[in-house]
Symmetry: C2
Subunit: 417 residues, 2 copies
């Protein structure tokens, strides 16, 4: 280990660290002249340095013992880096095409060295705001989601491996608590952290806090989140955790990873696509009414789910002798296999809609907002977009169990424009 105790990085410390760390130094061909180091952490929590030398590059991510965008007043264990590294490696081994390779991890320094996703990779959310279509996005994301969730569930695990992994990720409890607070609690109560486009959405935010039917359903989702160890979920799979080019899709930042409900990841991704959809009217102008782009987003939502469904069931069929969940000696006829798979996917759709909706709501009336809306300068216009998204989210959350397939969800979105 390069350093014997934790030190927050700056450029000077980082160079010293790299020189003392063979796995990193060798990535640069052990040449340290003309290094470019840039801190680019635009995320909410951590510091990210891009290190580029004449014969190699990497990214260094370091967790500090507090939440970056709030400051030292909101402490948060830097052990999250350990779970992020663990999840990057686990998900990376299952879906290597869509997860950056980890080169180095240092628990003392809460530091991850990983593959640098070079330009033109940008954060998906920024591409969605700019109105850029990514033709392979649905295919890639459905692949990543299907593989990471399937292979870490009891459809593939035996119980022994599963409980061991569950126990390990119970250690990431502080990050789970943060999600509990910002997703399942704060938006539904008065909290110093909540904000919204005021005064336009004052009564909308108040309505969320006063909606008994909504809060009843949120309780069920929170209990699933806290109690159901279904698969190793990324835990923060919004469109700011995905980097893209036209050809490449890469999932970063799984520091919230733990064994939780599969629908939490799928919902995060689809819910943030729905937010992007509702933000488009705020980005429309005389040159571009964004109508075609809105249709592309809806197709991407539909395709992501349908491709996920198909790929997940294909993995299930191909691995039906693995996993302790559905023994082939019991699930031993085609009708029955179809029945259990249909039920599994339908239940998962309901969870996905519930969690996706909860993630939408918290981005409109909770602490952390999304650039999709924030970048709409006209507050009244922004509030209009947000309100339509909020109404759709409340409907999805309350009525989620009535939806039978993703087309019905698309129809609901179209009716709530």
């Amino acid at each position: 280990m390069a350093f014997s105790e934790f030190r927050p990085l700056d450029e000077k410390v980082l160079i010293e660290y790299i020189k003392a760390t063979p796995s990193l130094a060798s990535k640069l061909g052990n040449k340290f002249d003309n290094l470019t180091i840039k801190e680019v952490g635009d995320g909410n929590l951590n510091f990210v340095f891009i290190v580029v030398g004449s014969s190699g590059s990497f990214v260094i991510k370091q967790a500090l013992p507090y939440i970056r965008c709030i400051g030292e007043s909101w402490p948060m264990t830097k052990e999250r880096a350990y779970f992020e590294a663990l999840a990057l490696k686990e998900h990376g081994s299952l879906s290597p095409d869509h997860v950056p390779e980890v080169y180095h991890f240092d628990r003392t320094m809460s530091l991850i060295g990983m593959h640098y996703l070079e330009p033109p990779h940008i954060i998906l959310r920024k591409g969605l705001i700019a109105g850029v279509e990514y033709p392979l996005l649905a295919d890639h994301m459905s692949d990543y989601i299907a593989k990471t969730l399937f292979f870490t569930s009891l459809l593939y695990h035996n119980t022994t491996d599963h409980k061991k992994a569950v126990a390990e990720f119970c250690g990431n409890v502080e990050l789970c608590r943060l999600t509990e607070q910002v997703v399942f609690s704060d938006p539904y109560k008065v909290s110093q952290y909540n904000r919204w486009t005021s005064p336009y959405l004052d009564s909308d935010a108040e309505a969320v806090r006063g909606d008994n039917a909504l809060k009843l359903e949120v309780a069920e989702l929170k209990s699933l989140f806290c109690e159901r160890a279904q698969a190793l979920v990324h835990g923060d799979l919004h469109t700011g955790s995905v980097m893209v080019t036209h050809e490449s899709t890469q999932v970063i930042d799984p520091e919230f990873a733990f064994y939780g409900p599969m629908g939490f990841d799928i919902g995060a991704f689809l819910g943030n696509l729905i937010l992007a959809f509702y933000a488009q009217d705020g980005h429309a102008n005389d040159q571009n009414d964004r109508k075609a782009y809105k249709a592309w987003i809806l197709r991407t939502i539909e395709n992501t789910w349908n491709l996920f469904d198909r790929k997940f069931l294909a993995l299930w069929d191909a691995n039906k002798d693995s996993g302790d969940a559905y023994l082939p000696a019991i699930y031993n006829n085609p009708e029955l296999v179809q029945l259990v798979q249909k039920k599994f996917i339908t239940d998962l759709l309901h969870d996905t809609l519930g969690f996706g909706a909860a993630k939408m709501i918290r981005r409109i009336v909770g602490v952390a907002h999304v650039e999709d809306f924030e970048s709409i300068a006209d507050a009244s216009k922004r509030a209009g977009c947000e309100r339509r998204a909020l109404e759709l989210a409340k409907l999805l959350l309350k009525e989620r169990k009535k939806f039978q397939d993703i087309n019905e969800v698309i129809s609901a979105i179209l009716q709530h424009q």
Copy 2:
């Protein structure tokens, strides 16, 4: 520690062990003349010695690295004793009136020393077979269940404590696997361990293995069992794990304890009472038609559930500021509190009926049968009782979500006599 490595107990070894163990020796007033030692393990898994001296007594339970009733051919970790001791202590602190006190635990020896439940304590199942009414049973069991489940759930725990406890009990995975096999798998497939009252129930057992609708529902229950860490459950709460007198009710043998769904415990208890009900016709004779006793069992089922419901909600109301599940700032009006509590209890009833039914089915067509039926000598008569129980269990399992309260369950039982 008395011994530096594991040794299976016999009378001689046990005396040596006691003399070398102050916490046990002192319970006997350090007097070792005239000790009576009796091995009474009538259970399926372990060895139990009753030790009585002139000035004190206790029970010694030892786990061996296999399943007693099957033999060394079915290995089973003796670490189960560690989790049994942990659960006895945890549940004992929450419900001291209904759990025997642990005097001593030795992990190396897989050995628990605990309070001797003296005669006239007998195993509840034996009392039920004999037709003895226990007027306090419903009150006591509802108390035990309500307290142990409430205080180990997120209704009382914060997430940090909860995940820590969940992770610890993930270690009891071998016992969870045994339950998976004997409760959720073997009865629904051909297995060398399955048996039933043959030839009478041959086609009934075959029907269970061929029932797609039933196997669809069993999958959902198994997934809850494997994935949902709702509370520290006893894990084997049948009527053979309860010792009773007219005044006392004591729960023993939580070696299957883990964080699982609450309904698994309540279902085990009620399901075994329902088995006792269906066995009564086999015990009826000219002196006693058992009609009054059957009515008492049904009242006990009804009262146990209804008292549980009332006590559990009273604990919830009294501790509404504790626990991370339902923050008072969100669940902040009486109508909403009533809504969430009603939903919680109704969902729990459905889980209870599902698990209870699964436990009934496995006792009729799986490996381990119950004395309630086994003690009916006439095989044809026994098969009749078992068939009626099996039919009711299949109905409960498949239709569980249609039941709104326990009275509807009682009616269904009365209709399936």
